[in-house]
């Protein structure tokens, strides 16, 4: 964990050092619907969330909160044994994005990496078994803002999230094959831009 925090601090310092004196800054808010793929169950589960970005020139930084309902539900739980499950991610991110140099510019691609918190939960129907864990996580991905007007557009985003924590600290051999939780998330939503002159 110490090494991870060190890398995170170095990344933050690097990003801050790159910030130029901007001509202007944009603040973007993007609520979205999302589909998250559980690689083990091979299911896409729906959810949603919101992203807020602060863009200065080529640099983008912000935060994201996303929710995927039923993430750990089996594909066919014919016995209805799992009552509910979800994954909640809260993360900060930084990266690069094509700056909007004019109001006529419609396509604004971006790429960011981030880290934060991944909450995983599942509980059974009987109320006997419930697991909630909170893991540090990293994510990377990109997308594009398609501006319809100067202040409003749509956003497509594809992002991979990975937990930084092993499933069990001292795993029994029967669960030793479990990998760290990771998944892809595809999001579609609106984007609202503030701060344009």
């Amino acid at each position: 964990m110490t090494a991870l925090r060190g890398r995170a601090a170095a990344l933050a310092a690097f990003v801050c050092a790159l910030v130029p004196a901007p001509a202007h800054a944009d603040f973007l808010v993007a609520p979205y619907f999302a589909w998250t793929r559980n690689a083990e169950t091979e299911r896409w589960v729906s959810g949603g969330g919101a992203t807020a970005d602060f863009a200065i020139g080529w640099l983008v930084a912000g935060g994201d909160i996303g929710y995927a309902a039923g993430f750990f539900d089996p594909e066919q739980d014919v016995l209805d044994l799992v009552a509910s499950s979800h994954v909640l991610t809260v993360s900060g991110h930084a990266g690069v994005g094509l700056p909007a140099v004019s109001d006529e510019q419609r396509l604004l691609p971006y790429f960011t990496v981030g880290f934060g918190w991944m909450r995983q939960n599942a509980r059974d129907r009987e109320g006997l078994v419930e697991v909630t864990r909170n893991d540090p996580s990293v994510n990377f991905g990109g997308g594009v803002n398609l501006m319809i007007t100067k202040f409003l557009g749509t956003r497509l985003d594809l992002r991979r999230f990975s937990s930084l924590r092993d499933p069990f600290e001292s795993p029994d051999p029967i669960v030793a094959d479990l990998e760290r939780v990771h998944f892809w998330r595809f999001a579609v939503g609106a984007v609202v831009r503030f701060g344009r002159d």
């Binding site: 801050c16 750990f72 739980d77 014919v78 880290f115 939960n121 599942a122 006997l128 069990f168």
Partner: protein
């Protein structure tokens, strides 16, 4: 050198963002030692454990009704003492299933369903005991069949399958004693959780820590 106030503000926002994200690491709870992906396997095992509690108690409690010579003679049409010995052995196997399933749940880092109270009526005849056993063993077979596709952990799959095959042997033996075919159909049919629990409901009480 002149400072640009706008740039200072921007840097401050970036720093705050980075600091906030780094702070999330401190929020992460690192004390947990379980994984939500095993909840389904544990739930399946607890479901089967409920069935096994009933089966184990059936033979343990039921055979206590047949300890006197007169009562043992009721088993003469069904093979006599040898059949009682086999039923006792089956009861021991059901108790072993209970322990095996509890062990698997514990190894998943989860809590097994506590022992349930099980109430069978006093069996007046060997026939009554064997008819009840026929029903209970077949509930077990259909319960195991219904969970096969749900398990994700290979060692749990193997453990459950190895118990399921013994369940089928029990059901076949009890079927023969009841004058039924040991394998009446080419394929068995799984039962839903609701069906299984409804069939066990007359016998099973509360499940709570002893």
């Amino acid at each position: 050198m002149k400072n640009d106030p706008q740039a200072d503000t921007s840097r401050r926002k970036f720093l705050l963002t980075a600091a906030g994200a780094a702070g999330l690491l401190a929020v992460a709870d690192l004390a947990d030692a379980q994984d939500p992906r095993v909840v389904l396997d544990a739930a399946v095992l607890n479901y089967l454990l409920r069935v096994e509690y009933v089966q184990a108690e059936l033979y343990r409690e039921g055979l206590t009704d047949f300890t006197t010579a007169a009562r043992i003679r009721q088993f003469d049409p069904y093979g006599g003492q040898a059949t009682i010995d086999t039923l006792r052995s089956m009861g021991e196997q059901e108790a072993a299933h209970v322990e095996a399933i509890r062990s698997l749940i514990t190894r998943l880092g989860m809590t097994p369903l506590p022992q349930c109270t099980v109430n069978f009526p006093r069996f007046a005849t060997a026939t009554e005991l064997l008819q009840t056993a026929f029903a209970i063993e077949n509930v077990g077979v259909s319960a195991y069949l219904g969970v096969v596709a749900l398990l994700r952990i290979p060692q749990v799959q193997t453990g459950v399958a190895s118990i399921a095959s013994v369940q089928s042997r029990h059901a076949a033996f009890i079927g023969l004693l009841n004058g039924q075919s040991p394998a009446p159909l080419p394929a068995d049919t799984p039962r839903s959780r609701e069906e299984v629990l409804a069939l066990l409901d007359p016998y099973i009480g509360t499940c709570s820590a002893q």
